[in-house]
Symmetry: C2
Subunit: 306 residues, 2 copies
């Protein structure tokens, strides 16, 4: 299986347009060892011909341009056979609307995520220029689904949505009741090699089901949003705690790094890293702590072969 | 008045994600004299302190990062005092949703454009995290409106919306009746200097009102979408003619270049240039024809001082 990280930052990216915290300032000024990051997404393929996007981030246009394997091979064409969504947050799905231009698309998501994005949304009509322009393919919890190419044939990858703790997207609070389908980890299995990738950019806390799916993975792209619960307040960038925003902080006794450190047979890479997270600073003690646990921080363009 | 072109391409940018026409191929391969372009937008200011965006393109995040004057000066802050929309196409307004993160915004648009974007759109709630997060300020046709800063004080710029031929956005066809408010040119006047900028990235054809507003401008950022009516079909990139898509082609006896060539006292710069337009090739006869008329092709980052 081929995996290319297209974006490794959380919603808003690094730097974030309206943020001048010490980290965003350092990225803009080039005064520390830190690089910019676009919003979390990855491209995956079994054969290097048909590709699937994990999320369609608001940065999708430049993310596609950044990776030659995603470039069209005919006048109007795309090697992108489908897009997989793990939740309905705007940083995961807004880029679908940048994939207009009359291109057929297949979108794989739970029915809660699909409804949250589509229902009543007039902008979605830009993706409905002809019948069946978008195939919305349901990911039922725990059911393995075959990822197919434009010709309907299996591409060699299968995906299973696994419910993980999370939250309903901010813009749907009070509009759509919370559901186990709001936020999932995506377990992607390569048929030929049997290798397993887990995409879990939003995880609010541990569960036995999450731990089980992580333990059998060859590679995990995991929620690296926050280092600590009160990071936003400490940065002067907000008031909400990490857990209220659907993210399990990395650090501390109960942090996700303690779990990830145990998965010694798995390549563990953090994505969806927020602009306030000190782990972004390559010379920080937090980055060193992750490295000591065998946990990497993704950068845009990182290539993996689980 | 200070003007910075943030993006000079049409919807989809140059190259476009699903296009491998000769121009998109040349941009990706670097085989011709042509540079990439993000989607049409500009930043304007009277004092260099408070800035206004003309359009919030899907590329707005990187467009803001590309220009230091738009960077925040406090932890959560923005020098962007407002966003002006000249129509409701997604390439003009999708970026509003990338300007979430609890930042107060002022959006100036006609009521038809505001309704088209807001009505029934669940995603807009991401901009409604607290009361009055977004001020939607109506641009009535022909009425000069003062552009104000966050403190309510005039910033030295006034704007007038002038109806020009255009079309209702594709995703609103059949949902919202066509109106003179669907597409406007924005006439921006600097109070101190009296200088006038006209932003007209979508113009389907000439009218006396358009000609009048162009003739009194010091600088015009004008619709450079297509060179010829049948350019999409010739490129194998679609079937619709330029006029059907709301754009007046540049070339030919009845083209917009013939009008622009007469405005010898005005700086004339083309924006919203489609990826199929041969004028993008710096060594093309079409580019030479524009230059011979005194008409420039904008590039991302171009700075003007009307």
């Amino acid at each position: 299986m081929l995996v290319r990280v297209l974006g490794s930052g959380a919603g808003g990216g690094v730097p974030q347009w309206n943020c001048a915290c010490r980290i965003c300032r350092a990225v803009r000024a080039g005064t520390r060892a830190i690089i910019p990051r676009s919003q979390a997404s990855a491209a995956i393929s079994s054969d290097g011909v048909s590709w699937f996007l994990l999320h369609a981030s608001p940065d999708v246009r430049l993310q596609i341009e950044s990776f030659h394997s995603l470039h069209p091979r005919a006048t109007r064409d795309s090697p992108i056979a489908g897009i997989l969504l793990s939740n309905g947050d705007l940083d995961a799905c807004l880029g679908l609307l940048s994939l207009r231009e009359s291109q057929p698309l297949s979108v794989y998501a739970t029915s809660a995520v699909t409804r949250g994005f589509r229902d009543g949304n007039p902008l979605v009509r830009t993706l409905e220029r002809f019948p069946d322009q978008v195939q919305w393919i349901e990911l039922g919890l725990g059911a393995e689904v075959t990822l197919r190419g434009g010709d309907g044939r299996p591409t060699g990858l299968d995906v299973t949505a696994v419910a993980v703790p999370g939250k309903v997207p901010l813009h749907l609070v009070g509009r759509q009741p919370p559901s186990d389908e709001d936020n999932v980890a995506l377990r992607v299995r390569d048929r030929a090699s049997g290798r397993v990738l887990v995409w879990a950019p939003s995880v609010a806390g541990p569960t036995p089901a999450l731990e089980a799916v992580l333990r059998e993975a060859d590679c995990v792209l995991f929620d690296g949003t926050f280092w600590s619960s009160d990071e936003l307040a400490e940065s002067g960038a907000g008031e909400r705690r990490a857990e209220e925003m659907g993210h399990w902080p990395l650090g501390g006794a109960g942090g996700s790094l303690a779990l990830l450190s145990q998965l010694t047979g798995t390549r563990r890479v953090l994505v969806h890293v927020n602009n306030t997270n000190p782990i972004l600073l390559e010379d920080s003690p937090e980055r060193a702590a992750a490295a000591a646990c065998g946990v990497e921080v993704a950068h845009d363009g990182l290539e993996l072969e689980p």
